[in-house]
Amino acid sequence: MQVNEQLSKDFILSIDSLTVSFDGFKAVNDLSLYVDENEIRVIIGPNGAGKTTVLDLICGRTKATSGSIRFDGLELTKMREHEIVHAGVGRKFQNPSIYEDLTVFENLELSFPKGRSVFGALTFRRDREVIERVEEVAEMIFLKDHLHTDAAILSHGQKQWLEIGMLLIQKPRLLMLDEPVAGMSVAERIKTAELLNTITRNQSVIVIEHDMKFVEDIAHRVTVLHQGKVLSEGSMERVKHDPRVVEVYLGH
């Protein structure tokens, strides 16, 4: 693939010279990043490289000091969190973030994109469409048999899947996953990789991950962050042999 070709295409997400500073410390420094439709992009980098902060910036959790994030023609830096979600950006947190007091079914149902206003939530009815969609997603995330289990008693891996499922049910066009296989068994990792490969048929995915084996399994392209900047970008093969990357990782 040629760089020029990329520029001429419409990216689903284009980040231009994004900077955020916390009391003078630039966690993300003049960063630019472009993601294609239906691409799985993995971001790697040492601790403190600014990976999670980039996701926070995209989904509106942190406000940028300067720069722009364009998603599907919308300027995300000016939008509030729920508007960004409505635009089609879904985000999974580093630690599984699910509603432990509710059942799997209820977890998924709450994420179903209907009745999102106060009034809508008060008059929301659990109709056939909702039930079918919940069951469909539950099947994808291997939790069909646990629909009425309290989420609190799921295994760690199952919780991770549940959170992915909660995103899938919204049919986002960009899915951002922060360490989706952390704490999973080998078998669970394989299943997760499989899951991600299935779902990207319809959406773009940004993944932050440390597990290199897993990264190789899923990544279309890899971006390496270091000190808030892009250090290297390209296929897994290319990045692996980039001397700067090697130095950062080994020198760390």
């Binding site: 009391d23 926070d56 942190t62």
Partner: protein, 308 residues
């Protein structure tokens, strides 16, 4: 306003009001420092803070009574002893309370609020049972009352000076303890990362207990000092609680400098408004302004822009 006064009078107004504001400022700092440590550093809402202050006041009262009876010669100086004892008493009670109640409630700040409110009721009734429902009068040595006249119209109350000096000493003391001593380093380490601090060998439980005790102890000293300007009764502590919390929250929890800055701002605003308006309206306007600003800037005056 200036139309009513001559220039020299106007100058006196400025000077005396500035001084009244400074006294109020000292009072606020004294009230709020203990709470700022407990709330800011530990995240515990201590609604019984006022009752810890009143404990200090009652200790001072006991001291004054005992010294008058048994050691009248010592009377002019008893106040220093009283303050020390007030600290010890409040500190001890604080440590006890931490051990019995608070340590079970870390990470449940709203529950500490309810439990300490309960504690405040118990303490109030305790004071009432022991000292009676009436306010008690604390007799002060003569040298602490009265004033120094600077000019014909400007007079500086001695107890105001005393409170200001005390505030300065305590604020400096707290600064040294929290930011210059190894113990303070440990406290801050625990605040920032409890697990890590524990892992490097800090006895986090002991740090919690001593921090809580210190906050309460300072409240005790404040209560002791307030016998000079306020009343000592079973329910007097409740009068302070809203003001105190507002000062701490307005300053930005976790920041001692913020607490001091906020005490300064609120006290100057209040004493200025009290001069130009009548008392009740000044109070309402001050509180409204503080609440209004907090609504616009919930993190308070001073707070770090931290990444979440």
């Amino acid at each position: 306003m200036i139309g009513d006064y001559t220039y020299s009078e106007f100058f006196s107004i400025l000077a005396m009001q500035g001084f009244a504001g400074l006294i109020l400022f000292s009072v606020f700092v004294l009230m709020a420092l203990g709470l700022a440590i407990i709330f800011g550093q530990m995240g515990v809402i201590n609604m019984a803070h006022g009752e810890f202050m009143i404990l200090g006041a009652y200790v001072t009262y006991l001291c004054s009574t005992l010294v008058t009876t048994y050691l009248p010669a010592f009377f002019p100086y008893y106040f220093f002893l009283a303050m020390a004892l007030a600290f010890v008493a409040s500190f001890s009670l604080g440590v006890l309370v931490e051990w019995v109640l608070i340590r079970h409630l870390y990470r449940r700040p709203l529950d500490t609020l309810l439990a300490t409110w309960g504690l405040s009721l118990v303490l109030q009734q305790f004071y009432r049972s022991v000292f009676g429902a009436r306010e008690v009068g604390v007799t002060l040595p003569d040298w602490m009352m009265g004033s120094v006249s600077v000019s014909e119209t400007i007079e500086v109350p001695l107890n105001g000076l005393f409170v200001m000096a005390l505030t300065m000493i305590i604020a400096l003391g707290v600064y040294f303890i929290m930011y210059r001593s190894s113990w303070g380093k440990r406290v801050r380490a625990v605040v920032q990362n409890r697990v890590m601090a524990g892992a490097v060998g800090i006895n986090t439980k002991m740090v919690d207990r001593m921090t809580f005790g210190l906050g309460c102890g300072i409240a005790g000293i404040a209560g002791s000092a307030f016998t000079m300007i306020g009343s000592t009764g079973p329910t007097a502590g409740q009068l302070y609680i809203v003001d105190t919390f507002l000062v701490v929250v307005f300053g930005g929890a976790g920041s001692l400098i913020g607490t001091i800055a906020s005490a300064f701002t609120i006290s100057q605003a209040q004493s200025t408004m009290e001069f130009f308006l009548s008392g009740s309206m000044a109070k309402v306007l001050t509180l409204l302004t503080v609440v209004g600003i907090l609504m616009l800037r919930p993190q308070g005056l001073f707070s770090l822009n931290i990444r979440r």
